[in-house]
């Protein structure tokens, strides 16, 4: 049967992936879109008679809670993926890598210079002008503040948080900066870059000089996938070099494979040229509740209370 993919990815990415799967595996794919939480819940609800075959894609933390409806699959393509991105038993397959960036709208800087590092954003002049996805709500947001709390000294961290406006909608972050609602937003590179690529000249991307964070995203095989082997073939195709290049070109998804030179396809810096601050994902996941409680207590900027 034709595999059905439950995906959180944007339409251009999905269309590109469909084309590659058709090309490489000769399979026509059905697509169900939605947020990662919604789709994973759906897979859970359907576990007695699964309707989907492949889940594509979300962070390991998010998917972790749904392991009992997913199935490990060690795709041969995984050999091209660095070992540190892979998860135990290959429960999920690394699909791409997100880099946290500061998206800046230069029209809104009021003549001030663009920030170069996190501590620049801690200046009180930035109060209420930086937007961030809600850590309680989005894994992106959580990764960012968790990382910042480790990267910055306590005082700068507090000062920075005091400047932040929290949005419970992640997509409002790049949109808000692009519309000029906010001068800066902390968001994934892929989101920022789509505005640069679209030709909005006042948008610039800042990779903080003291270091930033990355998050891998994974695909997974649904347990009892009705398409059987075809589902696995679809995952192979998704992880293939052609597919990841296509995804990089149309959706600016930084590949999980090491055999693709990013700058050949888009105007993004190589991963090696970006300073990455390593964070311990496991620890981050474990101390989530405690950290969020602490976070909630910190004063922040934003609308009227």
């Amino acid at each position: 049967a034709d595999p059905v993919i439950y995906t959180t990815n944007p339409v251009p990415a999905v269309e590109a992936a469909q084309a590659v799967i058709k090309d490489k595996a000769g399979l026509t794919t059905g697509i169900i879109t939605g947020g990662s939480g919604v789709l994973l819940r759906r897979i859970e609800a359907e576990k007695a008679a699964p309707q989907g075959d492949v889940f594509w894609s979300s962070s390991a933390n998010t998917m972790g809670a749904f392991k009992d409806v997913l199935e490990p699959y060690s795709s041969p393509e995984l050999s091209a993926v660095p070992a540190d991105l892979r998860v135990a038993d290959d429960y999920f397959q690394p699909a791409n890598l997100h880099v946290v960036t500061v998206m800046v709208n230069t029209d809104q800087l009021d003549g001030a210079p663009a920030p170069a590092d996190w501590k620049d954003l801690a200046d009180p002049a930035w109060k209420g002008r930086i937007i961030l996805p809600d850590p309680a709500n989005s894994s992106t947001g959580y990764t960012i503040v968790w990382g910042l709390s480790k990267l910055l000294d306590a005082e700068t961290y507090k000062a920075l948080v005091a400047n932040l406006v929290v949005s419970s909608s992640s997509s409002a972050v790049p949109k808000g900066v692009a519309m000029g609602e906010y001068a800066a937003g902390i968001t994934f590179e892929t989101n920022s870059y789509s505005y640069v690529d679209g030709g909005q000249t006042e948008i610039s991307i800042v990779y903080p000089s003291s270091g930033t964070f990355t998050t891998p995203e994974y695909s997974a095989l649904v347990k009892g996938a009705p398409a059987g082997d075809d589902a696995r073939k679809a995952i192979d195709a998704l992880l293939s070099k052609d597919s990841q290049i296509e995804l990089l070109k149309v959706a600016f998804r930084r590949p999980s494979r090491t055999d693709i030179k990013v700058s050949d396809y888009v105007k993004l810096p190589e991963l090696s040229s970006i300073k990455i601050f390593k964070i311990d994902e496991d620890e981050a996941a474990k101390s989530r509740d405690a950290f969020l409680a602490e976070w909630a207590a910190l004063p922040k900027a934003g609308s009227s209370e």
């Binding site: 939480g37 919604v38 759906r42 979300s58 709500n137 690529d197 934003g302």
Partner: protein, 546 residues
């Protein structure tokens, strides 16, 4: 109940309705609730009491729902009055266009408001130039403004038929006793149409409680229940099923409590009015006409600002998320019709079937509840209102779990999409239908029966025609909100069964506003065309008063 009651069709129909509601509403609900009991960790209620944030979310939600309901009523009722009682140029537009507000994706609405009143909004910048600082649109100001200008439509639609049917002689009686026309209306008309107003206010209240898109974009520091539920249920990161069920239960409880109050008030207000003496719409001329139609026009225009965004966006060149304003193209529209017409066909088909089923069912059931009460009908009334209290996501999960295999396997079919539509929107028809039925005197029905028409036939031949304006407005409301339904169908649809809203959601989520706008425009057309055809070609008089 005596024996003869069972010789009428009503008890049987009641039983049938209850059975259907049991299978399609209670059974899925059961899944949701059992999930809360088998949850891990401390009881959700204890967690809740310890959690100040959730508590403040409950408080904020109640406050927001109350205020928005109030504003929606204040906008919707006068607009309904003007539509029902006056004739003026462009009335058809002023009366039909508000429907669009229900169709436009709330994300677009929020964004449009931000373009005007946000930090970088047109008006904000303009005022800032004069040193005037308006409060931030994020938070209460934005939530209340944007929601009021969407949800007033429910009040408007629900009230217009009631005003059209109102016995105008009562107003005359009040005037003959010395009250000015405006006061007469407030004293005499308001109490009689109150059930209709309350019924639609209830809808607004529940819609606000369940609203997610705007809450999440504009809420910022204002914690709200729907966002909290979402966070606990389907947000990325750790999810807390127990908490989610607890919060969902709270939202169900709030809605049930409001419904209970609403029923009590309506029960006190069962006024039969003499039929067929609705006031003829008066022509509006001169300064007064300009004033009234102008005011109505402004309200409608404000609520239609998001439509402008869509209309312009649909024809604007774009690359990725970036709109090249000022550069025009037909590519976006072409994509809708040539590249991907599937969602268009699906939407019309599923929503059409769902509207017919939902309106037929809700009309019959509201008739049972109001005019043929028996032991089952209060239960029917309550159960049929439960969907109001369920967010689309929760309902979708429930449907998936309940009808995935087992005695009724529906997942992966179109039936489950239609089912989700019907269940979610049936309460609209119920509220409207009940409101109008309270005003139809029993003697009319008895007259028909005395002429030898059996009860069910009487319902079809006499009661139904009299309910027609209400049924029509319920159908329009159902059609509109069904065509634009997203959150439940998003969970239950399967490959090849995408609808327009799902397609739009995908595109917006991908940042492809221009394509999304093109689909949005088509969605607006899909919704309005049947309504306009019905009102003009078939002379369905929404504001009927013969």
């Amino acid at each position: 109940m005596n024996h003869s009651a069972f010789r009428t069709p009503w008890p049987w129909l009641s039983a049938l309705a209850l059975a259907l509601l049991g299978v399609f509403v209670l059974y899925p609900l059961l899944y949701i609730f059992t999930a809360s009991f088998v949850g891990e960790g401390r009881s959700g209620w204890l967690q809740l009491l310890a959690d100040r944030q959730s508590l403040s979310a409950i408080g904020n939600t109640l406050l927001l729902a109350t205020v928005v309901t109030l504003f929606s009523t204040l906008i919707g009722v006068p607009l309904a009055y003007v539509s029902a009682r006056y004739r003026f140029r462009g009335k058809l537009f002023i009366t039909l266009l508000p429907l669009i507000t229900l169709v436009i994706p709330e994300v677009v609405t929020a964004q449009t408001w931000l373009m005007i009143l946000g930090n970088n909004g047109v008006i904000t910048r303009f005022l800032k130039g004069y040193g005037i600082f308006i409060p931030s649109f994020y938070g209460w100001f934005g939530l209340i403004t944007s929601m009021s200008f969407i949800y007033y439509t429910y009040v408007y639609i629900g009230t217009v038929a009631a005003i059209g049917k109102f016995d105008a002689q009562l107003e005359e009686a009040a005037q003959s006793l010395g009250t000015a026309p405006a006061r007469s209306r407030i004293h005499v008309m308001l109490p009689v149409i109150r059930p209709a107003i309350l019924a639609s206010a209830l809808l607004v209240f529940t819609m606000v409680i369940g609203n997610f898109a705007i809450s999440t974009i504009l809420g910022h520091n204002v914690r709200l229940l729907s966002v909290a539920i979402y966070q606990a249920a389907v947000a990325e990161g750790a999810s807390n099923l127990t908490m989610q069920s607890t919060l969902a239960s709270i939202s169900v409880l709030i809605v049930m409590a409001v419904l209970f109050l609403n029923r009590r008030v309506i029960a006190r207000g069962r006024y039969e009015i003499v039929q067929g003496r609705g006031a003829r719409p008066q022509p509006l001329r001169g300064a007064q006409g300009v004033l009234v139609s102008g005011a109505a026009g402004i309200v409608v225009a404000i609520s239609l600002l998001p439509l402008v965004t869509i209309a312009v966006g649909a024809f604007t060149v774009s690359r990725g998320p970036v709109m090249r304003w000022g550069e025009w193209t037909l590519d976006n529209m072409a994509r809708v019709f040539i590249t991907a017409p599937g969602p268009l066909v699906n939407s019309i088909l599923y929503a059409g079937i769902a509207t017919v089923i939902s309106v037929a069912f809700s009309t019959l059931v509201s008739y049972l509840v109001v005019k043929k009460p028996n032991l089952m009908t209060p239960l029917i009334d309550y159960v049929s209102a439960i969907p109001l209290a369920l967010s689309g996501t929760v309902l979708g999960v429930g449907l998936l779990a309940s009808f995935n295999g087992g005695f009724l396997a529906l997942t992966g079919t179109s039936t489950i999409i239609v089912l989700a539509y019907v269940i979610r929107r049936m309460p609209f028809g119920m509220r409207n239908g009940q409101a109008i039925l309270h005003n139809i005197p029993n003697s009319i029905e008895e007259a028909s029966i005395s002429l030898g028409s059996p009860p069910f036939r009487t319902f079809l031949r006499v009661v139904l025609p009299m309910m027609l304006p209400a049924v029509a407005s319920a159908a329009i409301l159902t059609w509109t909100t069904t065509v634009s339904e997203l959150s439940a169908s998003l969970l239950v649809y399967s490959g090849g069964r995408e609808t327009l809203p799902i397609q739009i959601f995908r595109l917006i989520d991908s940042g492809l506003m221009a394509y999304a706008s093109a689909y949005g425009l088509v969605l607006v057309a899909v919704i309005l065309v049947p309504v306009v055809v019905a009102t003009t070609l078939f002379k369905v008089d929404l504001f009927a008063s013969k």
